[in-house]
């Protein structure tokens, strides 16, 4: 295959801009998703507890650290710093989310504390199919950014 032909070079060009669009989409979504968890870690900790899959001693640490993994990876994708590594991190997180939601859907576990503060989260948990579909779509985008081998646009640090 002649990778230096004009057709292929135009293709790489297009892919580079598509890669940038996907990076910004994924990065922006994760930065936004991290914001309210960072503002209210106690509420997020209760959601983590509600999944009933994590050691009780680890719940606060998960609630403190996971939003900052989302924020750091999201900002890295937006700014073009180590986009491949950031996409790999988010793929790891998304796979974890998919496993957690999948396990709870299979065993029919829905967390209902009967309370006002976490009712929004409980609403989402009542639609595991929607959550799985959303996370699978984001995983595809993350995978596409992670395996992209063309010339990235607006790149600050490669990797």
């Amino acid at each position: 295959m002649d990778t230096l032909s004009p057709g292929n070079s135009a293709n790489w060009h297009a892919n580079g801009w598509l890669d940038l669009g996907l990076r910004w989409l994924l990065g922006g979504l994760f930065v936004m998703a991290s914001a309210h968890k960072i503002m209210d870690p106690a509420a997020f900790a209760k959601i983590v507890y509600g999944y009933d899959l994590f050691p009780l001693a680890a719940i606060n640490l998960i609630a403190i650290i996971v939003p900052f993994i989302e924020l750091t990876a999201g900002l890295a994708l937006l700014s073009g710093v180590y986009p491949r590594a950031a996409a790999v991190m988010l793929c790891g997180l998304l796979l974890t989310f998919i496993m957690v939601i999948g396990i709870n859907a299979l065993r029919g576990h829905v967390f209902d504390c009967g309370c006002f503060a976490t009712s929004e989260a409980a609403l989402w948990q009542n639609h595991p199919g929607l959550m799985l579909g959303r996370n699978a779509a984001l995983l595809l985008i993350g995978w596409r950014v992670a395996v992209f081998r063309g010339r990235r646009r607006l790149l600050v640090c490669a990797g």
Binding site: A57, A63, I69, C115
Partner: protein, 164 residues
């Protein structure tokens, strides 16, 4: 080690460092360990705050029943209006957390600050009764306690309920 793994480790380290720093400095920060054992009390990310609340909590349904039977205290159901209508502790009034701001003025006109108050919600997974107890204390109610087992604890003991 592959290059991408090194960079993942770098970004992860930055995220963890930033998380601990911001959590330590933020007024919304939480301790590294929470209170997530329902046998110990209401679950919460803030174990220290949970310990402070212990003096203001009714620890079991039998004690709540005694207080109700004594007749002095006003029980306040802070769950949603729908849940209250489906069933509540006899004599309890409805003051849902989500409607607190709209309804507290009417509540304050009816209930004097000296009246003993017992708040409850949906049990040990729910902190709404603590939130309303704190809001009532801030409004000058002097004698507020929380029945932490809430409505599920009440019905599990077979105590009578009211519906309307």
């Amino acid at each position: 080690m592959p290059d991408v793994i090194k960079k993942v480790v770098f970004l992860l380290s930055a995220a963890i460092g930033l998380a601990l720093l911001v959590n330590g400095l933020s007024p919304h920060g939480i301790p590294l360990m929470g209170q997530w054992d329902t046998r110990q009390g209401v679950v919460t990310a803030d174990a220290a705050a949970a310990a402070l609340w212990m003096d203001f909590e009714i620890p079991d349904p039998a004690a709540a029943k005694q207080i109700l039977d004594a007749g002095d205290a006003l029980f306040v159901d802070v769950r949603s209006r729908e849940m209250y209508l489906e069933g509540h502790i006899p004599g309890a009034v409805s003051l849902p957390l989500e409607e607190f701001d709209d309804r507290v003025e009417a509540f304050a006109r009816e209930v004097s600050p000296e009246r003993p108050i017992v708040t409850y919600c949906s049990g040990r997974l729910c902190q709404d009764s603590h939130t309303v107890a704190m809001l009532l204390m801030e409004r000058g109610y002097e004698n507020v306690v929380v029945f932490i087992d809430g409505y599920p604890g009440w019905t599990d003991n077979g105590y009578p309920v009211a519906r309307q």
